[in-house]
């Protein structure tokens, strides 16, 4: 029985056969509703893992199953957010958030006639991430943190079963980052969406995730997995508690080893 996201013995290389693979013999399983974090040295293939799981790249070897189906084309039910918020500057924040609905069925064909309903939904999401009433602003009128919040709304508006976050807070200052941790934590709790978060911030990974996957240096494979059994809901205070610090410390050891091996 495959897991919700089941990456099995996957090897992938960009361009050409002779190139050193980006990931090799990579096996990752993520259960439905689980929050998984992927950490590893930079260039180890974390973003590649994201692209493989969403069908934006196809592996040279191995199998990838998402939601019971072998991935042979883009998965069509993933929401994605990146370090760069990539909002479209010619659209208002609200219209940016509605963008996925112009693509994904059944919303695509319903959007025009049920616009009000969708706008209301988007407003609700905006309020949830602390951007109430900002829908009319253009992205360039928002701060980096606010743009990232809007980008999260865009990733969630079509109620994807899978949320892929690739270092979404990498470019933000420490305070904004912690605020957004809480936003993500609450969104995940409210929707039970499956989340895969790529990050290089171990505290972020441990605070948010049910399970942290450590990858080796390129070619990336899993070198350690750590279940995070801290009770939920977690408060920011928990990041100063002894069990939290212990887990972060343990993961640090794995990453240090991975870098040394490289």
């Amino acid at each position: 029985m495959p897991a919700f996201v089941d990456i099995h013995a996957v090897t992938h290389a960009y361009g050409g056969v002779e190139g050193l693979p980006a990931v090799e013999d990579l096996t990752v399983r993520v259960e439905e509703g689980e929050f998984a974090a992927v950490v590893g040295p930079s260039g180890c293939g974390k973003s590649t893992l994201m692209k493989l799981a969403t069908g934006l790249q196809f592996p040279r070897a191995g199998t990838i199953v998402v939601d019971g189906r072998q991935v042979s084309q883009p998965v069509r039910m993933a929401g994605m957010a990146f370090q760069n918020p990539t909002l479209l500057p010619w659209r208002t924040t609200l219209d940016n958030i509605l963008l996925p609905l112009e693509i994904v069925e059944p919303h695509r064909s319903r959007l025009r006639r049920h616009k009000a309903e969708y706008v209301e939904k988007a407003q609700g999401l905006l309020a949830q991430v602390g951007l109430k009433g900002m829908g009319d602003k253009f992205p360039w009128q928002l701060s980096g943190g606010m743009q990232q919040r809007a980008s999260l709304c865009r990733a969630l508006i079509h109620e994807p079963k899978l949320l892929m976050l690739d270092e979404p807070f990498g470019a933000l200052d420490a305070f904004t980052r912690e605020e957004l941790w809480c936003v993500i934590r609450d969104l995940h709790a409210a929707r039970r969406v499956t989340v895969i978060l790529v990050t290089h911030d171990l505290r972020e990974a441990v605070f948010l995730a049910d399970r942290v996957v450590c990858m080796s240096a390129r070619p990336g494979r899993v070198i350690a997995e750590r279940k995070v059994d801290l009770p939920r809901p977690r408060d920011l205070e928990i990041t100063y508690s002894a069990p939290f610090v212990d887990i972060v410390h343990e993961l640090r050891g794995h990453i240090a080893n991975a870098r040394k091996a490289a």
């Binding site: 692209k51 969403t54 069908g55 934006l56 883009p74 998965v75 069509r76 993933a78 929401g79 994605m80 990146f82 760069n84 990539t86 479209l88 500057p89 010619w90 963008l99 996925p100 112009e102 693509i103 994904v104 253009f138 360039w140 009128q141 865009r154 990733a155 079509h158 892929m164």
Partner: protein, 279 residues
């Protein structure tokens, strides 16, 4: 050119009346400067022509040019409109064709790789050299000016539209593809709006080129238009009329440019504002 933004302290500096009066005087001077300089230029010209007794068949004084303009005003207006019409027709063709080709180039790597050498080679030909062929094919008339304007101006449009399309951020493309967006969806929702500021940026260049093209072709392949008027006037040694026509060209060129710029500002305000916000 990016001016260094004033530091906040410059905004909150105590408003000493003397300073603000000086600033106001300076602003007034800045507003007047273009008029003063332009008037001064023509005045200098006039004075130099009279003082040095330059014959008007060599360099006519502005007053003589003004007389010629008054005398030939109907011809000048008629031929200006003809030139405008040739320019706009060629430019319109260039926009339509340029957008289509630009979309094809931007959307397909294969088309881009295949046709770039041809395009670059074609663009390298000075278009004046093509006019004789156009006369040979289409005879003297309205076709050569329109086609020359078209040929000379479509290239920047193609390049800019293609650039706008081919520089889509890979992340937003990933977001779209992971939603199941087709190539066409990505073009319509992202590529085309994104390439609009590039397109409008190129229109200013293109209209100027089209104008050059139509005037060049008119001067030896047409019986109408300012280019032809200049050719005939200079054959008659009517130098004041030549200069009057040149000034008509300048005015027409500025009008065309400003109109295009206004269109650009209307259509792509977001790009300008985002630049302001960023810098």
């Amino acid at each position: 050119m990016s001016a260094i933004p004033p530091s906040p302290s410059e905004f909150v500096a105590p408003a000493v009346p003397a300073v603000s009066a000086a600033t106001r005087r300076r602003n007034r001077q800045l507003a007047l400067a273009p008029w003063v300089f332009t008037l001064g230029f023509f005045l200098l010209w006039e004075v130099a022509c009279r003082a040095l007794k330059v014959p008007s068949y060599f360099l006519p004084a502005p007053s003589v040019i003004a007389q010629a303009s008054a005398q030939y005003w109907w011809q000048l207006v008629f031929h200006s409109f003809h030139t405008l019409w040739m320019t706009l027709a060629g430019f319109g063709l260039a926009v339509a064709f340029g957008i289509l080709l630009g979309l094809a180039l931007g959307a397909s790597r294969l088309v881009r790789a295949g046709s770039y050498p041809l395009l670059v080679g074609f663009n390298a030909i000075p278009k004046v050299a093509v006019v004789p062929i156009l006369i040979l094919w289409f005879g003297v008339g309205w076709v050569p000016p329109v086609l020359t304007a078209f040929l000379i101006s479509f290239f920047p449009i193609v390049v800019n539209v293609a650039t706008g399309l081919s520089t889509i951020e890979p992340e937003i493309e990933d977001v779209m593809r992971a939603l199941g967006a087709s190539k066409r969806d990505i073009m319509v929702k992202i590529g085309i709006p994104r390439s609009l500021p590039y397109l409008f940026g190129s229109l200013k260049v293109a209209i100027t080129l089209a104008y050059v093209g139509s005037v060049i072709a008119e001067s030896n392949a047409s019986r109408n238009g300012i280019g032809n008027l200049i050719a005939r006037a200079s054959a008659d040694f009517n130098v004041p009329l030549v200069f009057a026509a040149l000034i008509a060209l300048a005015i027409l060129g500025v009008v065309i440019y400003v109109l295009t710029e206004m269109l650009e500002n209307r259509m792509t305000g977001w790009a300008q504002r985002s630049q302001l916000a960023a810098g």
